[in-house]
Structure formats: C-alpha cells, structure tokens
C-alpha cells in the first residue's frame, strides 16, 4: 500500500501523494465567483499560492441557505477555498484598482470571472497588464466567452447546461429535462481553465511570455457531450432524452430489493440468461429469439420487465459482486451516504479532513495520485474574508498601519 505524505520536506523515497507541489511558487490572484473558484482549488491543490480577492463584504458564494453554514460560508465555498489566502479589496475604487494592478504586476496568473468588458473598463485589460508584466497569464471564465454577440448574456449552472446541450439529453422524453446533480457546468468551466493555465505555464517556459485564456461555460459544456454532436454531424440524428436507458439501449436501471442497479445486460447475454435461469427466473428470455440484438430491441419491455422481476429478488450488493466477477460493468446506484462509506474510496484514503468545520467532516481529495518526491502541505481551512490582509498588504506590499487604516475607513479594503 502506498502512503500519502503530507509534509513539505523532500523525502528520499518517492511516495504517492494527491497533492504534488508542482505549482509551488506560482502566484494566482483569483477574482472569481463560483464560475471559477473550483479552478483556483485545482491550482492550490498543486501547491500554487492562490489569493482570493473579495469585496470587503465577501464574495457571492458565501451566503449560505441555512444556519449551520451561515457563519462559515456555503458548502461550495468551504469546498472550493481550502488553502487559499484571502484579501479584501474594492477595486472599483481608484485606490483599490491601483493596489490590484500592483499586485497583479507581481503575479503569475490572474483568474477572473467578471462579465466581459468589466475589467477592461476599469483599466485592467490584458493588453494593459501585459505591458507591466509580460509574463502574466490572464485567465477569464465567463458564461459565453469574451467575444460574440451574446457575450453579455448571463448564466449559471442551470443556464449553461441548457445552452450547452446537456439538458436536452438528460431526463425522460415528454417531460421537462433534468439538470445533472451538483454544479457540473460550472466545474467544466473550471477544469478547462485550470488546464489552460497549466498549458500557458508550459508555453511560458518556451516563450518567456504569458497569454490570454478565454473559457466559455457554454463551450465547456458543448464540447463534452460524447455522442451527441458526433451523431448529429454524421447522420443528422438529434439525440433525445431516453430516461435511464442510454442512447444505444445497452444500459438501463433496474430495481433491487434495496435500491437500484445500473446494468448492461446485452454484452454477455447468454451468460446472463443462464444466471437468471439457474433461479428459474429467465421466463420468456430463454427463447433463442432473444439472442438477436434486434429482437431484444423490439421487445425491450419484455426484456426489462423480466430482468426487473429477477433483480427485485436480490440486493444490489449480491448482484454487483457476482456481476463484476463475471466481468459485467454493473454497479449499484449509490446514495450520497453510501459514497462516503465506499470501501474502494476509503481503502484509497480518498476522503480528507475538511478543516475549520466540525472535526470529523470529510471532503473529497483530488482524484489522482502522483508518485513524486515533493508533496504540498495542507495548510488551512477556507479563509474568512481578508484573513491575509496583513500578510499581503503590510508584509508583502509594505503598507504602513496608518495607510491600512485609511484604506479600510474608505472601504477599499
């Protein structure tokens, strides 16, 4: 078994870590709401110094819907912002803007999700900042991108999923679409942004210069639809909602005695029928006609009902275990509590402590293990707004206490 090593010291023997300090020394200023704060998390987990710049009254994802989280920030805020530093700054005021420009001139990355044109109008266009800091990587994540006639449109996870094509293929036919659980469209934007930033860093190694990154949430969604655009462009077929049945009919969900099971019954049909038959539950499926894929397709209801009658007699665990032993890609439809107790995830130490909340609270770690000799330290919980104001303004920028008081009094910090 490989150990996770959470120290910052070089270790002589490489050990697996989820937090390789690959971006140590890279400084990122994050002017982002939840369109891109997950990007900052991806970078901080690689050891970057990510400093959130929040308005003196905090960013929009802080408000929490209920009492437990109201003083801490919402679950999203807590999850996205561990190990980041935070300063408060009102950069819409002239004095604040000047400070931000100074900070960014010493940074590697500016990560922002302001509506297109906002920073330009304030005097923080890429071309302007690049003059002072040619190595700057200026990464923008917005609803529809920096260009195009609809760049000023507003979005959110629901709208991005709708305009990007996810919604049209998720849910039941003849009913309203379903949004994917969680905030998947926003996360796709962040994943693309993090990838683009690391690519820009690689490019900078060769050219010595930074670059501009333009991520559109709509494009992030639309570029990840698997079969949908492929089928349209090749055959004109418009993918539709199929409920839990996947588009080529090869997988669907059946009931068990204790929940639901995702099955792929057609790959090894003969073996499945034998299995059901051993319990006298194969019913009409024993007929050799069902060996033909086309016959199964036109008699799908019989197939589904017969299999369901059998699976209802079993627990998900029984069927999952036996199916996987036979190489069937079946799995229980797990609830969230079941995810937390997953033997696979726990054996791999996937869940890590969420600091700053209750002691026993866990969060997912990064999904990759790197075999490397330098891990990054797990520094802290997600910050309160302005927690690092002193560190950054006084210690790093050299502001005096008097100047800091003055700036606070006019609401700049």
């Amino acid at each position: 078994m490989f150990e996770n090593d959470h120290t910052t010291q070089d270790v002589e023997v490489p050990a697996w870590t989820r937090y390789p300090a690959i971006l140590q020394g890279i400084r990122v200023f994050e002017l982002a709401d939840d369109s891109a704060s997950f990007c900052g998390k991806l970078l901080v987990d690689f050891g970057a110094d990510v400093i959130k710049v929040e308005k003196p009254r905090g960013d929009s994802s802080r408000p929490a819907p209920d009492d437990f989280f109201s003083s801490l920030g919402s679950p999203s805020y807590l999850y996205h912002n561990c190990n980041k530093r935070s300063i408060t700054l009102d950069f819409e005021q002239a004095a604040g803007l000047e400070i931000l420009v100074e900070l960014v001139s010493r940074a590697d990355v500016l990560l922002e999700s302001c509506p297109p044109g906002t920073l330009d109008k304030l005097g923080m266009a890429y071309e302007v900042l690049r003059d002072r800091n040619p190595r700057l990587i200026y990464a923008s994540v917005t609803a529809f991108g920096q260009t195009g006639r609809y760049r000023h449109w507003k979005s959110c996870d629901l709208v991005a999923g709708a305009c990007g094509g996810q919604a049209s293929v998720t849910g039941l036919p003849n009913r309203e679409p379903l949004k994917l659980g969680g905030t998947q469209a926003l996360y796709l934007g962040s994943l693309h942004a993090a990838l683009g930033i690391v690519m820009a860093l690689i490019q900078r190694n060769a050219t010595g210069r930074g670059d501009r990154l333009d991520i559109s949430l709509q494009e992030a969604v639309a570029s990840g639809l698997d079969h949908v655009l492929v089928r349209y462009f090749s055959t004109g077929a418009v993918a539709a909602r199929c409920g839990s049945r996947n588009w080529n009919g090869l997988s669907f969900i059946v009931p068990c005695s204790d929940g639901w099971l995702q099955i792929f019954p057609f790959q090894q049909w003969g073996t499945l029928v034998d299995w059901m038959n051993a319990e006298d539950m194969a019913g009409p499926l024993i007929d050799p006609l069902y060996k033909e894929a086309e016959y199964r397709r036109t008699h799908f209801e019989v197939v589904e009902q017969t299999i369901s009658r059998w699976t209802r007699m079993h627990t998900r665990a029984e069927l999952f275990e036996t199916a996987q032993l036979m190489g069937f890609p079946w799995a229980p439809v797990c609830t969230l509590p079941e995810v937390l107790t997953s033997p696979q995830l726990n054996e791999r130490d996937f869940f890590v402590p969420l600091k700053g909340v209750r002691d026993s609270m866990l969060q997912p770690g990064p999904p990759y293990l790197f075999l490397t000799s330098v891990a990054s330290a797990q520094r802290s919980s997600s910050p309160t707004p302005g927690r690092e104001n002193m560190q950054v303004y006084r210690d790093e920028l050299g502001f005096s206490d008097a100047e800091l008081e003055r700036l606070a009094s006019i609401g700049v910090i």
Binding site: Y79, T147, Y232, M361
Partner: protein, 395 residues
C-alpha cells in the same frame, strides 16, 4: 503560436473509447505527436477508425498497429517508450502490468517518462479489477441518484459524462507533469480514478450531507451556490421546447414578471423574495409556466436576457450546430479526410492566445503510420518491417 503548446511532446497512447482519447485529443490539438496504438482484433465499435465517433475524438493523432499479445510487440513498445515523453492507458490495471509495461519497466527504458494510468476506480483497492463504462461510474458516484425527478427513480446523465471529466483531469495531470519535468527533469507516474473524479465534483453535496441535512432539504443546497427561484425548465410553445430560467434577485424577478406580463404576481407577497418563492414553488412554477407556454423558447430567452435575467432555450444538437454565439466564435471546425471526405466537429473549449482557426488533421485510418513510425523513429529496416508485418507483430 498558441496551438504549439505541446509541440515536441510525443505521446504513446494505448487509451480507448472516450476518457483517454479525449485527453490525448487535446494534447494533439495543441501540437503533441500522439501515437495511437491499436490492434486489429479490438478496433471496433467506438475504436473503429472508419466510424464518425472515432473521427471526432481522434483527430490529429497517428495510428500504428501493434499486437501486444506478442512478446516482440511488447519489446517494440518499450523501444518506442524510449522515444516518447508520455505513455497513457485506460485498461484495467493488470493489463499493462501483464504486458511488462509497468512504471518500473518504462523507467528502465526512459528515466523521465510520464506514465498516466487512468482507470475506473484506481490502480489499487478492492474494486481495482472492476469493469466500468460511463453509466457504471455515474451510478457509483452518486450522480445518477442526484439526477432524478423529485418523486421518481434515478435517471442519470444521457451521455458518458464521467469519461469527459476523466479526460479533462487526465489532460490537466499530464500538463502538470510536463510542466514539472521542465523544472526537475523528473518524470511521473499518475494513478487517476474516474470514480474519484466524479465524486470530487459532488463535494458540496457530500459536505452538506454531513452537516446533518436530510435528503429532502439537500435539494436546497444542491441547486446552486446562491439560492434562486424560479430555477428550472419551463415549457414553451411547440413540441418539446423548454426555456431554462434562473432568478437570483429582486431586480431579475421584477424583470421576469414584466416580460411575462405577470405584474400582479410581481406584487404578490407570496413571491416577494427567493425564500418566499421557494416556499410557494409549486404555485410559482404553475403561474410562470402558464405564460411561458405561450412563448417561443429562443425568443423568450432573448427577451429575458435583454432584461438581465439568466435564461436560455434548452438546446439540442441541431440547435447547437446553428447557435449564433458558437458559430460566431468559430466553435465548429471542418476536417477533411482523404477517403471519407469532410466532417464537422467542435474545437474544444480551451482558447489560448490569439483566436485564429486551427489547422487540424483528420483522424487516422488503422495503422496508417506503422511503416513511417518504425522506420523514422526506431530506424527499422524495410526488411524488418516487412518481416514483422508478416508475423502479425505490427500491422
């Protein structure tokens, strides 16, 4: 300039279907030399070079045929590793190990190799030998459970979302390893779990769960970081036409009411703020839906966006292909295959640097680069190439 980020990077790509190929497609799009290792016996379905799916996900790559069942093929693969920077695979963990191509063996050939091992559950753990496709991982991760109508059975995504996510994480991890190697000279071995990737994207829900929220109130925290109401899909005029509408504040609420001629509703205290609208959500949905049903989805979205309300028609593949914003931004690219002709695909969402149209190559046909690669990269003689072809080692 920006399409050369990975120029000079050579990738030996054993990956298949979507998760791995989407990652290596990105690397190839940005200049990497991606060598796709295929076998005649297994080049079917999504891995059939002649099919549109393959054409879309494997552009810009080269193809060689190598029968990895044969020891000489494995030796040839190790020789190729010496000339490569990255090796990527998404088999069950034992496959590469059985071929004698684990990280230790690769390092013998090439000390600074970067090995990306993608799998459903990871290289270790009780489920490491499990078989999985996208829906398998969706089910395990909790995403299928959460993608359901309020009173109904689980449904899940209508496409292999888990594979898309795994591909992005793989590209990110490989890029990070490449960046790191430039500074340290050291390679890397990376163990990426698609299951973990998807669970990671449900972090806030898992945190809310532990705070003592029961399943019913979870829907409150699951929707969006900031609460909104209305927040959902509304039926519009025509068959299966829907508009997604999200209202986060009072200004947007008043704007929605004006656009829908629901001024009296805008003054109704039952709907005065987000919390109140959530309490009366059924009636809210009914009242708003009665008006949206009289409007065309695109026109309604246009009108609402004009007034600052986040909204969009629910777009299908045909809508996307003609979407003015996507078209104007050059999101669709045309590739030309010598035998199959022209085809369209999307360019992906990473836009780095000056925004010019990429000059990209179509997907390769099976084994089109075998001869060229073994001759030019490994210096094999024509006789050796012919002999290995006859014996089915390469193809």
């Amino acid at each position: 300039m920006s399409f050369d980020v990975f120029a000079g990077l050579r990738v030996l790509d054993f990956s298949r279907v979507l998760a791995g190929p989407s990652a290596t497609r990105l690397l190839a799009d940005f200049g990497a030399d991606v060598i796709k290792v295929q076998a005649r016996k297994t080049s079917g379905g999504a891995e059939d070079n002649e099919q549109p799916y393959f054409a879309a996900w494997n552009r810009n790559k080269r193809s060689i045929v190598l029968d990895m069942q044969l020891p000489e093929a494995r030796r040839a693969a190790l020789d190729l590793v010496r000339k490569c920077d990255v090796v990527i695979e998404n088999f069950a963990p034992r496959v590469l190990d059985n071929w004698g191509l684990d990280y230790a063996a690769l390092r013998q050939e090439n000390q600074s190799i970067i090995l990306m091992r993608m799998s459903a559950g990871g290289q270790t753990g009780p489920w490491r030998n499990h078989v999985a496709f996208g829906p398998t991982v969706h089910a395990l991760s909790g995403l299928t459970h959460l993608t359901a109508y309020p009173e109904g059975p689980p449904i899940g995504p209508g496409f292999a979302y888990a594979d898309v996510v795994a591909g992005l994480y793989a590209a990110l991890a490989i890029a990070a390893a490449v960046y790191s190697r430039a500074h340290t000279g050291q390679g890397q071995c990376i163990d990426l779990s698609e299951y973990e990737a998807l669970v990671g994207l449900l972090g806030p829900s898992l945190i809310a769960l532990q705070a003592g929220e029961n399943e019913i109130s979870l829907t409150k925290v699951l929707a969006e970081p900031a609460p909104a109401a209305p927040y959902g899909y509304f039926r519009c005029q025509g068959s299966d036409q829907w508009c997604a509408i999200a209202v986060f504040d009072d200004a947007q609420w008043q704007a929605l009411c004006e656009v829908l001629h629901l001024e009296h509703v805008g003054r109704d205290t039952r709907f005065a703020n987000v919390a109140a609208r959530n309490r009366n959500s059924a009636e809210l949905h009914s009242v708003v839906g009665a008006r949206t049903a009289e409007r065309r989805a695109s026109e309604l979205a246009l009108h609402l966006q004009d007034r600052g309300v986040p909204s969009s028609a629910v777009k299908d593949a045909r809508d996307l292909s003609g979407d003015p914003q996507l078209v104007e931004r050059g999101f669709f690219v045309r590739l030309k295959h010598p035998a199959r002709g022209e085809y369209l695909c999307d360019r992906g969402a990473v836009r780095l640097g000056c925004d010019r149209a990429p000059q990209w190559m179509p997907a390769p046909s099976l084994g089109q680069d075998t001869d060229h690669l073994f001759r030019n990269l490994l210096g094999w003689s024509p006789d050796k190439i012919a002999a290995f072809r006859r014996r089915g080692i390469i193809g």
